[in-house]
């Protein structure tokens, strides 16, 4: 069997589930939060919720980069897309996110004539800028630490080429400050964390040792295939049952304790930490990245004098609570009735990684009770 196939088709699934059941009944109640959109999707795709024992509940946290970007920032981007000569280059899943007005997204603006390109890599945005000198190309640098090295690399490339018509609207976010803010909130009710494998591949598994160290909460850095998820849930459930919180790295085939030194050095060269606004969590100190002064010519915030609009979410939308894990997607009155992936009211329904989209797409609502 090919190495990666083992993780996709675990032969020992029933054995692992049995063990999870034993530890779960010892623990009594196990509430686990995933904080990575790809985990949210992987959990939904594998149907994991439908086979776990009833004591184990999986809750989606602030892991979808599109979802945690506040409506005001989206409004600002939509306005920027209307400026003459500006081309917005973005990862695909940001295109359908509505701002504070329903149905108003980069996709609908594009249908109305705005220049919007979906790119797979920030380097594609640099290439567009190099080949279209008559345009101002703005790359929307959204994401967590996973996408930060690529964003840093594209800024270095633009600097190397001395491209004057390229800039990055840096919306990058950092995981640790958001987790701390979530854990320290009065309504926090989670017993352990499935830590994001992709983020950890960049910043290292050690970066999550504050979970047991500062808060006595267990964490497991997990991969994304069914066997990864089952193994990680088992490890978390065991640590909770034995009341011995620690940090484990299940994703050893990709994640090093100290992360990826090359990626980290690129990030350090280009970015410094900065306060950042989160949907659902508000402004958090040091929770974002901003371009260092040296790279100001490629900083779209400075170049276009941008300020996020002060606009609220769509009325009735509970995305902010869903992001914090205090409401489940199906508990939102808009879910599946007014808010669907084709016509989303809130960001959690837009992104493929959003908790609401995952619940809708994969029909979790048939088995998932309300939080």
């Amino acid at each position: 069997m090919r190495y990666d196939c083992y993780f996709k088709n675990p032969e020992r699934a029933s054995e692992l589930l049995e063990k999870i059941g034993v530890y779960a009944s010892q623990a009594g109640r196990v509430r686990l939060m995933e904080i990575c959109g790809t985990h949210t999707m992987a959990i939904a795709r594998s149907g994991l919720r439908t086979v776990l024992p009833p004591e184990v509940r999986l809750i989606s946290g602030p892991g979808c980069p599109v979802c945690v970007t506040p409506a005001g920032a989206i409004d600002m981007i939509l306005e920027l897309s209307e400026r003459p000569g500006v081309l917005i280059a973005s990862y695909g899943d940001l295109l359908r996110v509505p701002g504070s007005k329903r149905g108003d997204s980069l996709l609908s603006r594009r249908a109305g004539g705005a220049m919007v390109e979906s790119v797979y890599s920030p380097m594609d945005a640099v290439r567009i800028a190099a080949s279209r000198p008559e345009l101002e190309v703005v790359f929307l640098g959204a994401g967590f630490e996973t996408t930060a090295p690529g964003t840093a690399a594209c800024i270095l490339e633009a600097a190397e080429q001395k491209l004057e018509n390229f800039s990055v609207l840096c919306l990058l976010k950092r995981t640790e400050p958001a987790l701390r803010s979530l854990i320290e909130a009065p309504d926090f009710a989670v017993d352990g964390f499935l830590c994001p494998g992709h983020v950890a591949a960049v910043i290292g598994s050690d970066a999550f040792s504050f979970l047991p160290g500062d808060y006595g909460l267990p964490g497991v850095v997990s991969g994304f295939d069914p066997a990864d998820l089952l193994g990680s849930v088992l490890e978390l459930t065991r640590m909770i049952a034995e009341k011995r919180p620690g940090l484990k790295n299940e994703y050893i085939r990709l994640v090093q304790p100290a992360g990826n030194p090359l990626a980290l050095s690129l990030m350090d060269e280009v970015f410094q930490t900065a306060p950042s606004d989160w949907r659902g969590l508000g402004q958090i100190r040091d929770s974002g990245y901003a371009l260092r002064e040296k790279y100001r010519p490629w900083d779209a915030w400075a170049k276009f004098g941008l300020r996020p609009a002060l606009s609220g979410d769509i009325p009735g939308c509970r995305c902010a609570e869903v992001i914090r894990g205090t409401a489940s997607p199906v508990s939102c009155p808009l879910f599946g009735r007014i808010c669907t992936p084709e016509d989303p009211a809130g960001p959690c329904m837009v992104s493929g990684e959003g908790a609401c989209a995952a619940a809708y797409q994969y029909g979790n609502s048939i088995s998932q009770e309300e939080v």
């Binding site: 439908t50 695909g92 899943d93 249908a111 797979y120 084709e342 992104s351 990684e353 994969y362």
Partner: protein, 336 residues
């Protein structure tokens, strides 16, 4: 409808259905159109099957085919799915000023080759040229006529217990085109479009099919297997339950989908056939399909049940269950 056309309306998913049902059907209502099959069965001298399709794929050349081959396969396959034996095609080009003759010749050659393979003649056509910047190089429309050799009851003939078969692996075309579009495909990659004419496979199946044993045939193009099966179950008193382990997916497609954040079950196929049939005939049909070169992976992937009417369910490798919905909007690559 209010607003403007967005790309979502061309995705083949629920937005496309909305466009068809709210603007097109009310305007052109007639019994042949109302069947909403891949092709229309026309009354007249004998029974004719008629279908049309437009091709706008970008890039026009992709691993495993090009827009020319696709424009023949697409219409030929629609005719086959409606029980027809494809005979005649029309061929219309919309070319953008500046398009290279050498590229056009290559496309025409591939059209001719695929038409020979499918046994159809190109009998009429048209060419228009639009100004530079007003098109994407080349668009093609084909329409096709076939003679009807079999009739299927369609969606309403599906019964609990029926078997669901597929003639090959899922999602190759969609995954190959998306990877080519992203500039991520190397020459030596095993990832290729499944673009092919289905006349041999559907022919082999119909050659051995007892009357009434085939309920419906459909080629799962835009929106993939998940969307097509949803079209079968929508509003009906039955569900379809799939075994994920039984659905053939090439490792290269799986890897590409992992990279792009796509699901193979939602990626277009351009040379696969879904069959819902009498369960007693399933093994015989699989054997017939597998006898055709290139269809060796034909498999039974699911069963019609009554467990959750109107829905398509998937049993995952760890024993979990989830609902497969229609594709909503375009497949957009995700952030990480």
């Amino acid at each position: 409808m209010e607003g403007r056309i967005t790309l979502d309306y061309g995705s083949g998913g629920s937005k496309t259905s909305e466009l068809i049902s709210s603007i097109l059907l009310p305007a052109f209502d007639n019994p042949a159109l109302a069947q909403l099959g891949d092709g229309a069965v026309l009354s007249g001298a004998g029974q004719l099957v008629f279908s049309t399709d437009s091709f706008v794929v970008s890039p026009w050349r992709f691993p495993g085919g090009d827009i020319g081959k696709l424009s023949v396969c697409g219409t030929v396959n629609d005719l086959c799915m409606a029980g027809g034996r494809p005979q005649y095609l029309s061929l219309s080009f919309i070319l953008e000023e500046g398009f290279l003759f050498s590229d056009l010749e290559q496309i025409v050659e591939s059209i001719a080759r695929e038409a020979r393979e499918a046994g159809v003649s190109i009998v009429t056509g048209d060419t228009k040229v639009v100004e530079s910047g007003k098109g994407d190089g080349i668009y093609i429309n084909t329409a096709g006529i076939g003679f009807r050799r079999a009739a299927f009851p369609g969606q309403s003939g599906i019964r609990p217990g029926d078997a669901v078969l597929i003639s090959g692996s899922a999602g190759c075309h969609g995954a190959a085109v998306m990877m080519a579009r992203a500039g991520l495909l190397r020459e030596e990659s095993p990832l290729k479009s499944d673009c092919r004419s289905l006349h041999r496979i559907s022919g082999a199946l119909l050659d051995c099919a007892p009357d009434g044993s085939v309920r419906i045939l459909r080629d799962p193009t835009r929106g993939g297997i998940a969307t097509t099966l949803n079209e079968f179950t929508e509003g009906m008193p039955f569900s379809i339950e799939l075994e994920q382990d039984a659905i053939p997916v090439d490792p290269a497609v799986e890897a590409a989908c992992d990279m792009l954040g796509l699901d193979p079950l939602y990626c277009a196929c351009e040379g696969r056939m879904l069959v819902v049939c009498d369960p007693g005939c399933a093994d015989m049909f699989l054997e017939a399909m597998r006898s055709v070169p290139g269809a060796g992976q034909a498999a039974r992937i699911g069963t019609v049940t009554e467990s959750l009417p109107g829905r398509v369910l998937l049993k995952t490798p760890i024993g979990g269950k989830r609902i497969l919905t229609k594709l909503s909007g375009m497949q957009l690559p995700r952030i990480c």
